[in-house]
């Protein structure tokens, strides 16, 4: 009921004081406020309230407060730097650890493969080969000839027995 008796510009008092109206609205409102006692009082009240709020809110910080703020900022910055350094160190540590294990594994693989090749040298050669080197040969009662077969290069010891020995 109260709202119906009030001036129709009453709703614009707040935005007018807060400078939220358009230029034309501002001009209308300014003209209206000069002629309307109710709105003029409201505008005054609102302006005074705003001043009071600003005066109470904008407080110059004391030296102690400033020192505390700067100390907090400094602590935060230092902590952040330390954290980054720790992260870097941690990553490096992990990398070094991994490098050690990879090197150890590689060395062990090389040693085992080497051992295998050293222990089984003939496995690398041609097992089908019949290479043969005669070091000595003799007989008590026969003549012996040594040949090599043309295809498979097999060494052939051929014993020519004397009639008496057989």
């Amino acid at each position: 009921m109260e709202s119906s008796s009030r001036c129709k510009y009453y709703k614009l008092v707040g935005p007018f004081v807060d400078n939220e109206l358009s230029d034309s609205q501002k001009q209308d409102m300014a003209l209206h406020v000069e002629n309307c006692a109710e709105c003029f009082n409201e505008v005054n009240k609102a302006q005074q309230t705003g001043l009071l709020i600003r005066e109470n809110l904008i407080v110059e910080p004391t030296n102690d407060a400033m020192r505390e703020i700067w100390e907090n900022i400094h602590t935060e910055l230092t902590n952040s730097h330390n954290f980054k350094t720790q992260q870097k160190r941690s990553v490096l540590k992990h990398f070094n650890k991994a490098k050690f294990w990879i090197s150890a594994a590689a060395a062990l693989i090389v040693i085992s493969v080497g051992t295998l090749f050293y222990s089984f040298p003939y496995k690398t050669g041609n097992l089908q080969s019949n290479h043969c080197f005669v070091e000595s040969i003799d007989s008590a009662s026969a003549s012996i000839m040594v040949f090599e077969t043309p295809k498979n290069k097999m060494t052939v010891f051929w014993i020519f027995e004397n009639e008496s020995s057989s």
Binding site: A98, I111, N130, H131, F133, S139, I144, K151, V156
Partner: protein, 150 residues
Amino acid sequence: MKILFVIIISSIVFLHTFIASAQRSPAVFIKVDVIYASNERAFIDKKISRIVNDLKSLFAYSNYELIDIHSLETKYHQTGQIPLPNASKLQIVPLAEQAGYILLNVLVNRSNGYIMNTNFRIINGGTILVGGPRYKKGVLVFAITVETMR
């Protein structure tokens, strides 16, 4: 990563144990095919066709029969003896292994003395032929294959 390392270490320990045990008791496997070669008929045993193809280029026999196969496992400096059909004996002694070659001593013995005594080096897994001892109407040929696992 640690698990991988443990697996690698275990494999190496196993490998070294296997190699060490192999080195302690190296076995030498000897296989001797006893072949009878003659001119009694024209026949070639399919089991020895590879050897016969080589032999035919050197000797003029028409009949090649595989009459016996001997397999024996011996060690270095341990004599392996094989009785032969003509009352002879074949003695094989592995002497050493050098760079993938096996040094062997082969002795063909008759009752009245040896008819061949030879030392030779043959590649591991290789085959040599010893032929000539008389048997029936032809001769005997021995295909000797030697292999060691180390």
